[in-house]
Subunit: 294 residues, 2 copies
């Protein structure tokens, strides 16, 4: 039995209507399915409030524009999310207490029916708690090319969060077959890019300075909403911020390294290609505090 | 009303069972949909026979292996296709007489349900007849990187035909907004790669020799089953075969250029970035003859 709550937006219900998620809901010729032709956002809801919803809606708007998909109004999306969350809260308790994973998807739909969108609310996967608390073993793997090369050409959809995620899923299967939990993409010259589904954050002490680094987000890397909140909090707290370039030795010599993403929040990287990395649980707690206030 | 016939393969019906395609059939958390995590083949059926089915099943087997998805047995897939075709033939006449588009999809499915696969049979889209007869205006567009760079790393899925086709769909929207019908990918140094959903074939007279060219298929380009049949027929008929590298001037100086794919068959390229290209309807007919016998 599914524990997922689904709200579909439609012409009749532009702000969404609850539908029965135990039944199939998607047409077999939906181009979101047959072509990965759609965009999405994944968010964390804690205590019935979606974290950094504004940043997610802004990124979704950008993704939809790049794919020429209609973006529902922000008001309708917020109403749809509220409806889905209310229904989910009435359901069975989630593994992580009051935490839910909220997704918005806009799909190309069928040729006859056209684009459509929906919101799902589901219990956050149990495995993420382990990754938050015990950290992840990461492998560095080549991305095959520098995504900065894509960013000049709008048809390559750099910066759009699309449903075409087969490679991201593939690399996660690959690292799990090799005893690790997550992948960090690198260019051919070993420059750090991003995680398979996350941003890379690196804390370093440089003389008297505390510096927080992440790879330059304008070079074909999806700007991380979680990384953004942590950087804003750190800046206010007096950290210097840096944008690389970063190489493997920067991670090996760091005070701590994290993979940051909306639902998992912060996963400390405990090993890089099998080599133990320094971790700092006090810093992790501090940064989680920035996220809790977002 | 959908004119699509669907046969679902399942544990209870490993060789497939007809299902009602007017109803939604796919769960909203199917990872084929949420992650583009699946593989497919698209084929042409003419007079109840699927063209070059063996080559498609071989490529599907390779795609499924790269994504670690279970491949149904060939016998079960052939039975499922026969069932879908029989049901489709009993339906309304298709636009292109006895032609149908046949698809096999293997999707990751839901986390709880696991991978599943299905066959669809639908009337071939009406627009392809125009493209076969009147040809296509093509634009050369950069792929952002040379896909040969991906082919060393199995996690990048080079050579797999996955459901993650958002970029291929995006580039087709782009060319249509710019007065063209199709895109031909090029590397940064303008080397010809492939069409958005097709192979590029070039016929040239070189002194006394007739040569048929296509870009080297082992360098990150999906090997085209249609191009393969035409090359085999041409070789038997005394043509020399060449594998490039090809550059835009090779297309501009050719006797004829085609985009080759399974359902559209051969679309003569009439214009490249607005410049008229030579065409040769007798050659087109000859090559269509090779395909009809496949």
């Amino acid at each position: 039995m599914t524990q997922t709550t689904v709200v579909m937006l439609s012409t009749e219900h532009p702000a969404g209507a609850l539908v029965d998620a135990t039944a199939p809901l998607i047409h077999i010729e939906d181009q979101g399915l047959t072509r990965g032709d759609g965009v999405f956002e994944t968010m964390l809801s804690a205590n019935r409030s979606v974290r950094k919803l504004g940043a997610h809606l802004a990124r979704l708007t950008g993704s939809a524009r790049l794919l020429d998909l209609p973006m529902p109004t922000e008001e309708n999306l917020r109403t749809a999310i509220d409806l889905a969350l209310s229904a989910a809260e009435a359901g069975p308790q989630t593994v992580l207490g009051e935490e839910h994973t909220v997704k918005i998807i806009i799909s190309r739909g069928t040729v006859a029916g056209g684009p459509h969108s929906w919101v799902t609310v589901a219990p956050s996967p149990a495995g993420i708690l382990t990754q938050r608390e015990q950290g992840v073993r990461a492998m560095l793997l080549p991305r095959g090319h520098d995504p900065a090369e894509d960013s000049t050409y709008p048809w390559l959809l750099a910066g759009a969060k699309t449903l075409s995620y087969a490679v991201n899923m593939s690399v996660l299967r690959y690292v799990k077959q090799h005893g690790a939990d997550d992948a960090i993409w690198v260019t051919e010259d070993r420059r750090i890019l991003e995680g398979a589904t996350s941003s890379v954050i690196v804390a370093k002490t440089e003389g008297e300075k505390k510096v927080l680094y992440t790879p330059e987000p304008s070079h074909g890397i999806l700007p991380g909403t979680t990384q953004g909140v942590i950087f804003e909090g750190a800046r206010t707290a007096g950290w210097e911020l840096g944008y690389g370039p970063l190489y493997p030795h920067d991670l090996l010599e760091a005070d701590a390294v994290w993979l940051a993403s909306s639902v998992r929040l912060l996963a400390p990287v405990t090993h890089l290609n099998g080599t133990p990395l320094a971790t700092d649980s006090q810093l992790t707690e501090k940064f989680l505090g920035y996220l809790a206030r977002s």
